[in-house]
């Protein structure tokens, strides 16, 4: 195993996702390279939501870019995420 292999770890991450209205999270395991928007859509479906443009918010409150891979958006194994709407103000 190369040094890079050790630092990169497994190709998946497991996260806890809250739908803000619900006190109970759901756990998901995704490929690190999965797009944030695709993962958020999957999470929204699991919560029974028909959200237009779902994304995630991390524990510091930052809304994540739907077009980035999870790992590039800073999502790490064990993180807690919130399912939120990606839209801006008008």
């Amino acid at each position: 195993m190369s040094k890079d292999d050790k630092t990169q770890g497994p190709p998946t991450i497991t996260v806890k996702v809250f739908e803000p209205s619900s006190p109970s999270p759901k756990e998901f395991t995704w490929q690190k390279t999965m797009r944030v928007g695709e993962a958020a859509r999957e999470a929204a479906a699991a919560f029974g939501l028909a959200a237009e443009d779902p994304t995630f918010q991390n524990s510091s409150g930052e809304i994540l870019d739907r077009n980035k891979p999870l790992v590039a958006a800073g999502v790490r194994d064990g993180d807690t995420l919130e399912l939120v709407s990606a839209g801006g103000g008008v």
């Binding site: 209205s21 709407s85 103000g89």
Partner: protein
């Protein structure tokens, strides 16, 4: 549209556990006053660390969206977070109505806001193509996300 106060209280209290859990995860304290139908969130602006109170006036909820506002908890003076784009999209913070989003009653023309193109505040759950939040916790989560991008309080 008139919603009996008892209906609004019951509706809000059904959502309150989710609201409190979300707020706790993000460092905000929640107060709910069923007499005045005001839900308040006390915390600090993530950028300039000044104390900030976020208020939802809930008369008419859920037939109507809340009327959201901000104040300095020390003085009670109205205030507004500075807007900054979120992922290339406009901030929800707006000089004219506080929060310019379908989930804020103050954004509608009928309530002195800029929007007459959303079908009126009674249609708030059906507005598409803009930031969506249909529960109090989801609305506050959007507000927290836009506060995170905001450089401070005006």
């Amino acid at each position: 549209m008139t919603v009996p106060k008892a209906t609004t209280v019951a509706t809000v209290e059904e959502e309150l556990l989710g609201v409190r859990c979300y707020a706790e995860r993000h460092g905000w304290a929640v107060s709910w006053d069923p007499e005045t139908l005001r839900l308040t969130f006390d915390g600090t602006h993530p950028s300039d660390k000044r104390p900030l109170r976020v208020i939802a006036a809930l008369d008419g909820y859920r037939a109507l969206p809340p009327a959201w506002s901000f104040e300095d908890p020390g003085t009670g003076a109205a205030c507004l977070p500075k807007p900054a784009p979120v992922l290339g999209q406009s901030s929800i913070f707006h000089d004219g109505c506080g929060i310019c989003a379908p989930f804020n009653r103050c954004a509608y023309k009928q309530h002195a806001g800029p929007h007459q193109d959303w079908g009126g505040p009674e249609s708030w759950l059906n507005v598409r193509g803009h930031v969506q939040a249909t529960t109090l916790a989801a609305m506050f989560a959007v507000i927290v996300g836009h506060l995170k991008a905001s450089p401070g309080i005006k």
